[in-house]
Symmetry: C2
Subunit: 367 residues, 2 copies
């Protein structure tokens, strides 16, 4: 049956009839406006509704702009192909993955650009559903979708760019950790990885508890990028380095250590698997630590914190209804180790993802 | 024969060994630094070489930031598949297409983010060649590639985001044209479209002159985004609206007219086809005006200019070694017409691309 739901418009019609109305009311008065503690400000003048060559933002005062792009493909698309993620979910995911990179810089996300390229078979209804997921995630994370690019493609392509602002000198790089700092995290890792292992196992009929299944799936359908935590990390100036765990905890810890020229010891007793991770690992007979450290696409923030700042940051977070926990410490010796429950020290378990980048010296002087 | 040229590294190795060295020296002192006439400034603190979650720029003073994304697919890839565009060329093209959108806003491009996703068969040498095209185009257009995303994909995906800055209130939208304004262009259109018609005709053995072939191909291999012209249009404050012709001249003129709530009359005698366009049209028996107005992906700027500003802008452009020409005028009656050589007025020829967006009122007041 060919009904409205099966209609497939061309690109100009989609721009005029779906995109413009989806993002109406962004431009001009009443649109995004943000101000930093030093009085620096950002206001959106022309967003996606303007349908111009670019979006326009007015900036005033001294601030740092952070910008990053994230292409969404790979593992999450397998769950989409399994029918576990909807069109709405992958739109939502695209935004979460991108704003997480802004949070990892200690900045406040202020806008997104999204590229949505669809296969010839994608209907208007499906396309609009992807955009609704984008729009709602943008509203949730406080970063309007101000533009991007739509059109046809051989297969579905979702890519985004997010940008954000923070106080001058407050952007948190990976290379700032110092020996003696505590290593901290905004939440547990491994849930997204456990979900992937579980749903790919095809053994989901004889199964774990329904409550755990729901929690596992939610890590993919409504990923919680830590944008409020990131903003507090940046504005407080208390942390020394930060990265999100979208490449997995092992990759994150190793990248911070390499970029900072330090070592890290993570304490196993401080990173115990969550109940749903433990359930999956028991069900599939996997070492929980390999999931906690592995290439699990969680969006937690891992950061280093001088010990003297622990109470102050705890207070700042608590005042905003947020929390974090200490998971280890930064060492002068460059080894990256897990301190096991049995007292031994071993290299971090889990699949390594990313090679260590060369250390880059970044100019922190004002212009 | 498996040699170095056939090697295929994984993503972490490509980041560490190819990307980092390709973009070394961006971050910190000696990196990009720009200042606007009002003293507002931008400096790159952490670029692609930092390999952090995001790039970081320091902004000071009052300015407008313009941001846009462009996915590179479609027609140009057919020329790549025909072997007419190299890996280097498509990297170059990605940058030109993106900075053109910044120029169309009257802004100076200051940076790029690029997404390069490659099929499993793309070798390190090919990948590095794409990046060299990106790097060299960025150098040519003055906008360093400060980050992005690389990795594998089913097929080649190239997408970018460019950003730029201009004085407060100087970003040029499509909706500012007023009746009585002159319609102007930075150069002739149709060359890229003629090239596409010619090379797709497969009749290139019995052929047009070699000089014309070279010029046609150059419109694809080294597209000249009008970044210097765009910067002068914005900084001078003399123009009232602007768009680039990447969707074709007809689409551009119609979009400016619709967004501005005006009509436009283009004068055929002011948009005569270039010699290479005339040669292709004669060879393939096509109406030249359908190519000049059609979906030819040129990167000229079309802008509206109050008559009283004509001499002043001519002087500004001449002082910078640049030129433009008048191609028509803006009318109160909303018709978009071609004034033909025979004195008649007809709708614009060529394939329509884009529907008219709704007019959006943009807040131009300072924050």
């Amino acid at each position: 049956v060919i009904g409205d739901d099966a209609h497939i418009s061309d690109e100009p019609d989609r721009l005029a009839n779906i995109v413009a109305s989806m993002f109406s009311g962004q431009s001009g008065n009443g649109g995004l406006s943000a101000r930093l503690a030093n009085g620096a400000g950002v206001a959106l003048l022309a967003g996606a509704d303007a349908q111009d060559d670019c979006a326009v933002l007015r900036l005033s005062g001294e601030q740092e702009l952070v910008v990053g792009s994230d292409y969404v493909r790979g593992a999450k698309f397998r769950l989409y192909e399994f029918g576990l993620l909807s069109d709405y979910d992958i739109g939502y995911y695209l935004v979460a993955a991108n704003v997480s990179d802004i949070a990892a810089m200690g900045a406040r996300p202020i806008g997104m650009l999204t590229v949505v390229r669809y296969p010839p078979t994608m209907t208007d209804t499906q396309f609009a559903t992807v955009l609704r997921g984008i729009r709602d995630a943008c509203a949730h994370f406080g970063a309007p979708n101000v533009g991007g690019d739509i059109g046809g493609s051989d297969s579905l392509v979702l890519s985004g760019t997010a940008f954000g602002v923070c106080l001058p000198g407050h952007a948190l790089m990976r290379g700032g950790a110092r020996p003696g700092d505590l290593l901290c995290a905004t939440g547990p890792t491994g849930i997204a990885g456990a979900a992937m292992s579980y749903f790919r196992s095809r053994r989901t009929s004889a199964s774990i508890e329904q409550e755990h299944r729901a929690s596992l799936l939610a890590s993919w359908t409504r990923p919680q990028a830590r944008v409020r935590e990131g903003e507090q990390l940046g504005s407080s100036g208390l942390a020394t380095s930060c990265q999100d765990t979208s490449d997995g905890l092992k990759a994150t810890v190793e990248a911070i250590a390499a970029a900072s020229g330090v070592g890290v010891t993570v304490d196993e007793q401080l990173i115990q698997p969550t109940p749903e991770v433990a359930a999956v690992c028991a069900f599939l007979d996997i070492d929980p630590m390999s999931i906690v450290f592995g290439d699990s696409v969680d969006f937690e923030l891992v950061f280093s914190l001088p010990k003297r700042n622990l109470d102050a940051l705890t207070d700042v977070f608590a005042a905003n209804g947020l929390a974090f926990s200490v998971i280890g410490q930064v060492t002068a010796a460059r080894d990256v180790l897990l301190h096991r429950l049995d007292g031994t020290h071993v290299p971090l378990p889990g699949k390594a993802w990313r090679h260590a980048p060369e250390q880059v010296s970044v100019n922190r002087k004002p212009i």
